[in-house]
């Protein structure tokens, strides 16, 4: 399986790398990082600001680009399926061909402004964590995008669902947290908050970054809970594991749908 998947991934990645989308994606992070460094210097706050932008933009772009990618590849997928290739290899080939360039793009765009300044005073471990969470979010949301594109035959509906998922994780979620805190004022909320964080990959990534930066004041409600309950490395590990679940589950669901689909 792996050799065929690798072949498909290689050529799909070549296609993505040559698209204008990817160049714009890299440029975006580069420019944002460059701007933040010029105005603030390389302290923890610059990394944190960059982090919050990365953690919200990566899921949005991955979801939208991922669904469009699979819709555009529909006829080509049929052609490839008519070759002696099993569906599993083709699925992972398409997935790798999308996520490879996207991961590389975000890592390159985010780190270049720092690297060109010889680190710019940023903690390399924090920067590495930022890249790690960006890669994890790319892998998770690309799998979710695949699930959406396989579930909705209609392009427009699929794109709507992709943006809906992002709104849910990035905007509606914060509102829900606020509402819960307000509604159950005075009750112990640690466990429900922990559950809510686990249910949102973007918040998970944010908490991981905050735990590492060790800025309690900026942690927000769910971050404070993580700090208190899990603290330092245990919390980091728990959050990483939860993120892995967020990658494997949709990727598996997508594979199942892809294997059963009539093209």
């Amino acid at each position: 399986m792996s050799a065929l998947a690798g072949t498909v991934a290689k050529f799909q990645a070549r296609d993505v790398v040559r698209s204008r989308w990817l160049a714009a994606y890299v440029a975006f992070f580069w420019i944002v990082g460059e701007g933040l460094l010029r105005f603030t210097g390389g302290d923890a706050r610059a990394v944190l600001s960059l982090g919050s932008i990365v953690l919200y933009v990566v899921p949005l772009v991955t979801l939208v680009f991922g669904t469009i990618y699979l819709y555009n590849a529909r006829e080509f997928t049929e052609l490839l399926l008519a070759q002696p290739v099993d569906r599993r290899s083709l699925y992972f080939g398409l997935y790798g061909g999308l996520t490879g360039p996207l991961c590389l793009g975000v890592v390159l765009g985010t780190t270049m402004p720092f690297l060109m300044r010889g680190g710019a005073g940023a903690d390399p471990a924090v920067l590495a964590l930022l890249c790690g969470t960006a890669v994890a979010l790319t892998l998770a949301f690309a799998a979710i995008a695949f699930c959406i594109a396989l579930a909705c035959t209609d392009r427009l509906r699929g794109l709507g669902a992709a943006i809906g998922v992002w709104m849910l994780c990035a905007v509606v979620y914060d509102g829900l947290v606020m509402a819960t805190v307000a509604a159950f004022d005075g009750h112990p909320l640690e466990r429900p908050m922990l559950m809510m964080t686990l249910a949102n990959p973007i918040d998970l990534a944010r908490v991981m970054l905050l735990l590492r930066l060790d800025i309690s004041a900026l942690m927000g409600y769910t971050g404070a809970v993580f700090q208190q309950w899990l603290g330092g490395n245990t919390g980091l590990l728990a959050a990483s594991l939860a993120l892995c679940v967020w990658i494997v589950t949709p990727a598996w669901l997508g594979l199942r749908a892809f294997s059963r689909k009539d093209f």
């Binding site: 065929l4 072949t7 498909v8 050529f11 799909q12 070549r14 296609d15 993505v16 040559r18 698209s19 555009n72 590849a73 529909r74 006829e75 080509f76 049929e78 052609l79 490839l80 399926l81 008519a82 070759q83 002696p84 290739v85 099993d86 059963r260 009539d262 093209f263």
Partner: protein, 236 residues
Amino acid sequence: MIAARDLCKRFGGTPVLRDLDLDIARGRVTAIVGPNGAGKTTFIKALLGLVKPDSGLLTFNGAPVGAAPAYRAQVGYMPQIAQFPENLTGADFLALLRELRGVAETDERLIDEFGIRASLDKRLRVLSGGTRQKVNAAAAFLFSPTLYVLDEPTTGLDPVSSGILKRRVLEEREHGSTVILTSHILADVDELADDVVFLHEGQARFAGNVRELKRQTAQATTERAIAALMLGERAA
């Protein structure tokens, strides 16, 4: 070479193939004809493993289709619409197929006959629809398969290229390959087909050689005979 027995497929409750029984002989050109929605594309997709039948049996050289993808190494498929990743070049696309099949030695006669070798270095996005269709056709003939599946092969091709493709189809038959094609252009069917399968509402209403078809419908040309079949179904 290919046999379908009681093949059924529904899409969202609508039956597309209804207990289809069909045999396709080796070394002949079989044209599958029929009105829109008759099940032509679904049958071809089932044969390629793209569509999974609900029930019934479909075999290729005696082995059930869909168990393992290896049989597709013997199939050259030319889809109706040529859609490629737009930032790849034609050469990239052909290289991808070569790597997937693990075959380095390929038959590139059609590339030269179509005169598209220079276009292969350009991105597929910038090629005209006709040139893309030529790349599509060339890809199906690249690996000297034993079975060709050509879905509306001449659509979008100019008369000269269409002629080149048709000559090549007949040549492949001379060398013992089997060809299945669908076409709405009855003149093409007339020119190429040895056997005709007439699909209507998911069943084969006629399957046999061209002479038999003409005799049964009392028509002089295949074109008229197929038209008579279609009109007959409409009247019934």
